[in-house]
Amino acid sequence: MKISTEWLAEYVEIRESPQKLKDDLSMIGLLVEAIEEAEGTSILEVEVTSNRPDCLSHIGIARELAALYDRPLRFPETQETLRIESDRIPFEIEIRDPELCPRYTALVLDGIRVGESPDWMQRRLVAAGMRPLNNIVDITNYVLLEMGHPLHAFDYDILRQARIVVAKARNGEKMYTLDGVERELDADMLLINDGEGPVAIAGVMGGMESEISLSTTRVLLESAYFRPDSIRRTSKKLGLSTESSYRFERGADWNNTVPAAGRVCRLVEQLAGGRIAGNIQDVYPKKKEPVCIELKRENASSLIGVTMEREFIESTLSRLNFKLEENGTDSWSVTCPTYRADMELEADLIEELARFYGYQNIPTTLPPCRNVGRYSPVYKLENTIREILIGLGFNEAINLSFADESDSEEFSTGSDERVGVRNPLTEDMKYMRTVLAPGLVRSVKRNFNMDRRLVRLFEIGKVYRRGPDGTPKERNMLGIIGTGGFTEQNWKQPDASFDFFHMKGTLLTILRGLRIHSYEIEPTDAFRWLNPTDAAVLEIDRKQVGVMGSLSASLEEKYKLRQPAFLAEIEFESLAENAFAPMNFEPLPRYPSSERDISIVVSRDLAYRKIQTCVADIKIAELVKIALVDVYEGDKIPSGKVSLTLRLTFQDRGKTLTVDRVQDFVDTVLSSLYKTYGAELRSK
């Protein structure tokens, strides 16, 4: 709301500088966002919160200042008598829906000369951000900005009958509004009819036909009160927000209809020569009572945290035009001004007291802490994973949670689990993401565009899939992507590319950090977005919790990556069930261990895990570790074969192993591998 200080000064004495006004208004809840200097005035840009429609006018702001500075409020000149002896222009008002329109006040003015409004009025309208049109429309707008009450002027001679009928529209009924747009109405919308058809959408906008024109001489002035939720629904449905609907939907003052009409009459008489010709009619089927709230001093003191003195309570609320009636010791029955649409409960009154006591004057205290803090289960998991990945050289990414059509097809896992947003922001945000991979691939691509070819990213976030009951279910996921070198190119060693085993190692390091000791890695070809040659799933307790592999060739080409990218996607909450196994301490061995390397030649189709299992099945208690330290394929061994060098570590917790004993173990391992898989010892 733009408030002109020069205009404001008509209603309350202003001695303060615009800057001081800005500070003072801000501290009572009317944030002044900016001060704009204009000719002869300063414009305060006041942010009025949606609970304070009473402040959407110059008098509204003046009222707050009058209370704050304890100065009298001056009201503008108004027409006291809105009735004349010779009521020349009769008309009728009929409210068919008193729920939605509890009060409708109107009168008719004639002898009007439509023209330009005077300079002073035009300047004030412009200062407040409105465009001057003609004196009649300008006057209604002026009174709106002055008193906060929306008004509407109909050209009386255009009305087909001398009637105002307030009723709901018929479904499909149409009318042209003042802005020249044809509006289709429905049965929830309240209309103003002239007995034959609609002439205005109540509280929102008038009709084009009955608009004030240069030839208008007689005006029917409407000053009404409409129910906020009805106006809001209509305004939303039509996508039409006006100064009028903005105020009605927040709550106007039903007791302001007659004063606002009186003010318009005075200005019309002064500026457009019009006089009352049809007596005011005030149809008010059911009197609305002001809100009355019980206030206890004790409650105010204990909520704010400081003793509220009787005198302070009484003087503050009285200055704000609340009527207090004592109904016990330190207890009042408080009648609220009808313009205060925000008043409902004692807490609302207490806020008034706090506002004027000054939030800055409330003493700062700390309540006793009767709770023990606790992280959510996800916290520890997430932070452990984050620190591990940072240590391994991954940067943390965050992508928007949305996905486009092609994502859900290209990265689908079979069944359509997509969840669509009913009102997406853009076409490429139509769905919620079902996997993290597409966002990570795009992030890699963006970095490629910046000539970064070594990219390692991870993202911890949610994916959203349709649950069995049809509603979206979200799951915490970890996504990882790595591509390019294993380290930055450097002089110490030739460049190694980030490959499948780097990704696998990354995952296993995470599992180690989470103390998950038991898992399986199995080949898979169930993921269309991964190359089937090197895709694998991670299983814990026979449950698939993740997948890893290289981005499929077709997607690699689609995103023009032109280098392999390795991805992993892990379901975080499945990890939670198994993570952080208790730590067990085992006393350190007192005797040295012995290592032996053996190089065996086996078929290259033999999975390494089978060799591991075969050795483990011998159950040599002293064999504490098997490591694969070298892999060789080439001229020196027969084709179709692979040479594996295993490092076996032996340890006896009770004594030092003799050379002969260790050799016995090695021979046992070798003969078992030979018997099971024909593994030959590789000759030097």
């Binding site: 801000s26 809840g29 900016a34 919160t49 949606s50 609970n51 906020p228 939907e249 909520l303 704010i304 945290g305 409960l345 807490a347 609302d348 207490i350 806020e351 706090a354 506002r355 939030y359 409330i362 205290t365 700390l366 309540p367 802490c369 009767r370 709770n371 803090g373 606790r374 959510s376 996800v378 984050r386 990945l389 940072i390 240590g391 391994l392 050289g393 940067n395 943390e396 990414a397 965050i398 992508n399 928007l400 949670s401 947003v421 009913r422 997406p424 922001l425 919620m432 992030s443 963006r446 910046m450 970064r452 911890i460 509603t471 279910k473 979200e474 915490n476 380290t487 450097n490 110490k492």
Partner: protein, 338 residues
């Protein structure tokens, strides 16, 4: 006896002088100091064969000899080693780059989110990981925003259907906590929230928030101020000042807007704070009695407060990030700076 020590010393000196490389060094060391058969080692072992009265003197002499031999060998080792490493040069070129171990980075939002969670846990809050896909009831209705409430306008919402939506704030923690816990309550939740705002330099359809709620007997606005001050000083800096202004949020009454003194100009006025010296940082207030009642809290016995803060804004402010989209671009040139 003393002659034999002198003889030993002489034999060592001759051999020592003949050391030219690591191999000869090793053979000299083994000749004199090997555990099995080293000349000095064996000599020490033979101490026992001497008459008792001669042992101390001879023993001390042998010990002296051994430590002098060890010391000479150690020095010679270092000389040989240095020559081997540098190939005769005086120094390795230590100015060449070290090995480029990779080190990643936490996203600034996530780092701050984790920091905030830690601060809150230390302040006695229980943290909840709450759904982003939320019921209208938890996001709006139970927070005193019935359908057609004007405040819903300020939070343009993504919907899935008539009841399910993407939460527009983390304030749903108020309702979940009140439904699931009994006072005294200190609950908090952080995470992504969504508003149907166009993606531009100052708006994002997705951002991060933290919301907290405290409910107990006798909780006052003063308590809210105190807890806020502790929180904000930990998040920002212990020197910041805090200011509360009346504000409006449908789920609190009285409501407050909370400013902190500008972290760039310390309140003197600068472009970031639009010369005001203050930066609007969060919304707070005393839990609305209707909200308490709707979630089954006896509002005649308990009071409480709640606050909510945007997390993204903090790194943007702290580091002067002017375009919010940078936070979600995952550009390494950006991420690597944190």
């Amino acid at each position: 006896m003393s002659q034999s020590i002198e003889g030993l010393q002489k034999r060592f000196d001759e051999d020592f002088a003949a050391i030219t490389d690591m191999d000869t060094w090793k053979s000299v060391r083994d000749k004199f100091l090997a555990r099995e058969g080293g000349i000095i080692t064996t000599g020490m072992k033979r101490l026992r064969e001497l008459p008792k009265e001669e042992r101390p003197v001879f023993g001390q002499a042998m010990n002296r000899l051994r430590s002098s031999v060890e010391k000479q060998l150690q020095e010679r080792y270092a000389e040989l080693k240095k020559a081997a490493i540098t190939g005769g040069q005086r120094h390795l070129d230590v100015t060449r780059p070290g090995f480029p171990y990779a080190l990643g980075s936490a996203h600034p939002i996530k780092r701050l989110q984790a920091d905030i969670e830690q601060i809150l846990v230390n302040m006695g809050f229980r943290l909840f990981d709450l759904p982003e896909v939320e019921r209208d009831y938890y996001n709006f209705e139970a927070l005193n925003m019935p359908p057609n409430h004007p405040a819903r306008d300020e939070q343009d919402t993504f919907y899935f259907d008539d009841t399910m939506l993407l939460r527009t704030h983390c304030t749903s923690v108020d309702v979940h906590a009140m439904e699931g816990l009994r006072p005294p309550i200190r609950a908090a939740s952080t995470g992504k929230v969504y508003r149907r705002d166009p993606f531009d330099a100052t708006h994002s359809p997705m951002f991060y928030q933290v919301d907290v709620v405290v409910i107990d007997e006798g909780i006052t606005m003063g308590d809210m101020k105190g807890m806020l001050e502790v929180f904000l000083k930990q998040v920002f800096h212990s020197d910041i000042k805090m200011r509360l202004r009346p504000g409006f949020f449908p789920f609190v009454e009285p409501g407050a807007e909370v400013d902190i003194s500008c972290i760039f100009c310390n309140g003197a006025g600068c472009p970031t704070c639009k010369q005001s010296g203050w930066i609007e940082i969060l919304g707070a207030g005393m839990c609305h009695p209707k909200v308490l009642r709707m979630s089954g809290i006896d509002d005649s016995r308990y009071t409480g407060f709640a606050w909510g803060m945007g997390i993204d804004r903090v790194p943007m402010l702290k580091y002067g990030v002017e375009d919010i989209r940078l936070l979600f671009d995952n550009d390494l040139r950006f991420l690597e700076q944190f």
